[in-house]
């Protein structure tokens, strides 16, 4: 349980909370994508912090590499879709997305 007392764990939790906050409050889609990146990096930091100084440190780094890879793919698709919507609507504000509702 000592892991939850480590400062770096709190740093990761704060990053994660910042990501959630940004996602909730920001209206610009690019900034929303950035907030999502923050959340994924908080997860990475937790992976690395949890294994620091143990025999599994290398293993945890490899998990983090996988997550970085997935995050890149996700943002690539996300940006492409934001761009496609921007071309159609000329607006990258999240509130512009309101053709579908009910």
């Amino acid at each position: 349980m000592s892991f939850f007392g480590a400062p770096v764990f709190f740093l990761a939790a704060a990053l994660f909370a910042l990501g959630i906050y940004g996602f909730m409050t920001r209206r610009n889609l690019i900034v929303v994508l950035m907030s999502i990146e923050l959340m994924l990096n908080a997860a990475n930091l937790t992976f690395l912090a949890a294994a620091r100084g143990t025999a599994q440190a290398n293993e945890a780094s490899s998990y983090a590499v996988f997550v970085i890879l997935v995050a890149a793919a996700e943002v690539a698709v996300g940006l492409a879709l934001v761009l496609a919507v921007f071309r159609l609507k000329r607006d990258s504000d999240i509130d512009a997305a309101r053709d579908l509702r009910g």
């Binding site: 959340m39 997860a43 937790t46 949890a50 996988f66 793919a73 996300g78 997305a97 053709d99 579908l100």
Partner: protein
């Protein structure tokens, strides 16, 4: 070398699907212009058939004692879900070939991405390794984002895909953070190791707050994937905006894979071995988790059904209906025991038939008329009786009335919930089924109870291929309502070997 060959032989279905997906991309280049949809589609179907063949060969074979390559579990449970995914993919490919909604060019990529999404579902259903589970989920999700936005010039398709990618990325990020917390607590990403470690922690009575936070974050991600409340709000928009074959894929294959992963997650990590008698605290925690899922189930079905009542767009109504059905299925998950889990498997198979059918009819209707409103269905029964009759079979199954499979599936879910002591949940589900009768009936009324003169559209006969597809699905829907023995036995059997 022999060991490697043996391990590889266990993942032939995955290898086969990957190979066909990649080659489908190449086939597209060599096919005559204008015929890509049909040719690449047939090629993908061949690939799915080959994959199904390899899966069938694993049926009934004693599964390997250790996970293949340390992370892929091959057992009847995963084989059932893989067959489920392959079948759903085959129908989606056929629907795409018959649909006019997807773009006329770029079919090669479309089928490639579709098969990749299927591969993601394969991984999601067959692992206890949290990292592979996350990768499978992302493979499935990222492919789904692209598919949802495939109708590029269409504003609604673009908007659906954008909402999907934003909410989806957040949900998977939340889930990943939950996974890392579990890793931090136990030092392992293997659920079969995490389970016993958590049991030790419960025995030491360290308090359950960190475990609760981690579990809650993970559950949020799963709830998103299966569109359960309070993470369901993306569903109607995405289902309405995406091209109909893609919606079918999301509603059936994607949701099924989400449930498979959820069952594995709960089974391995949070259900104490009753025969061994886990620590008291863990029993209590598992029951509390069950109650939480039960509350989510009640919330999900009620929200889904109440929102569906007011819908005028057929696809949007089916989206809310699929939220409601996620609620019914969660009822079986909430029991946290073997009987409940096997009723979940049974209901998912039933759900597969009735929803593929219902979305197939929507696709036919949208294709021939360019319209998706419920009211404009009027007179369809007199003009295209075959399509309308099969639609009635699907609707009756969705309500859950005999003699269809929908009734039997719900029956098992209800009994499992009542036996576990969730009588209130069964009552809520019963009231919800009664509510659902109203909006499903509205569709049937529009089709049959209006005179033929009011029909908005002239007769358009379903193509023979399409009629055959609908008939197969309708026969399946009714057949499993009567001859459900063998399916039930298989569901139970696959639970038996679920480690």
């Amino acid at each position: 070398m022999n060991l490697l060959r043996e391990e590889l032989s266990w993942i032939t279905p995955e290898l086969c699907l990957t190979l066909f997906a990649c080659v489908a991309l190449l086939v597209d280049l060599f096919v005559q212009k204008g015929r890509e949809s049909v040719m690449v589609g047939f090629f993908s179907l061949m690939g799915l058939l080959a994959t199904a063949f390899f899966l069938y060969r694993q049926y009934g074979v004693t599964p390997p004692a250790q996970p293949v390559f340390g992370c892929m579990v091959v057992d009847p449970f995963s084989t059932l879900f893989k067959l489920f995914a392959v079948g759903a993919l085959a129908f989606v490919v056929l629907f795409t070939m018959l649909s006019r909604q997807t773009r006329p060019d770029g079919y090669g990529e479309f089928y490639f991405i579709l098969l990749c999404a299927g591969l993601g579902a394969f991984f999601l259903a067959s692992t206890y390794n949290l990292l592979l589970m996350y990768l499978g989920l992302e493979l499935l999700s990222i492919a789904s984002y692209i598919l949802a936005g495939y109708a590029k010039g269409n504003r609604r398709s673009g908007e659906a895909a954008m909402k999907y990618v934003i909410f989806g990325a957040v949900a998977s990020g939340v889930m990943l953070y939950g996974f890392t917390l579990l890793y931090g607590m136990t030092g392992s990403i293997d659920l079969t190791v995490i389970g016993p470690k958590l049991r030790d922690q419960f025995a030491l009575d360290h308090g359950t707050i960190p475990i609760s936070v981690a579990t809650g974050l993970c559950l949020a991600g799963f709830a998103y994937k299966i569109s359960a409340a309070p993470f369901h709000f993306w569903t109607p928009d995405v289902y309405e905006g995406a091209p109909t074959p893609v919606t079918t894929f999301l509603a059936v294959a994607s949701k099924g894979a989400g449930f498979a992963a959820l069952l594995r997650f709960l089974q391995a990590g949070f259900i104490p071995d009753r025969t061994l008698g886990g620590p008291e605290a863990m029993m209590g925690y598992s029951d509390k988790l069950g109650t939480l899922v039960a509350v989510l189930a009640a919330l999900t079905m009620t929200l889904g059904n109440l929102a569906a009542l007011g819908q005028t767009n057929l696809k949007r109504m089916l989206a809310y209906s699929s939220i409601a059905h996620a609620g019914y299925v969660l009822m079986g998950v909430a029991t946290m025991n073997r009987e409940g889990f096997s009723s979940v498997l049974f209901y998912l198979v039933v759900y597969y038939f009735m929803n593929l059918g219902a979305f197939g009819v929507v696709m036919y209707y949208a294709n021939t008329t360019g319209d998706e409103q419920i009211d404009d269905l009027k007179g369809l029964g007199w003009r295209s009786p075959l399509v309308a009759i099969t639609m009635v079979a699907f609707l009756v199954a969705l309500v859950g009335l005999p003699p269809t499979a929908g009734f039997i599936g719900k029956w098992f879910l209800f009994t499992a919930a009542v036996k576990k002591g969730f009588l209130w949940l069964a009552v809520v589900a019963g009231i919800n089924s009664a509510i659902s009768l109203f909006y499903y009936f509205r569709v049937a009324r529009a089709m049959w109870l209006r005179p033929e003169e009011e029909a908005k559209y002239a007769t358009v006969h379903a193509s023979p291929a399409f009629a055959a597809l609908l008939l197969v699905l309708a026969v399946g829907t009714v057949w499993f309502g009567v001859g459900f023995d063998s399916l039930l036995r298989y569901c139970d059997y696959s639970q038996n070997l679920l480690r």
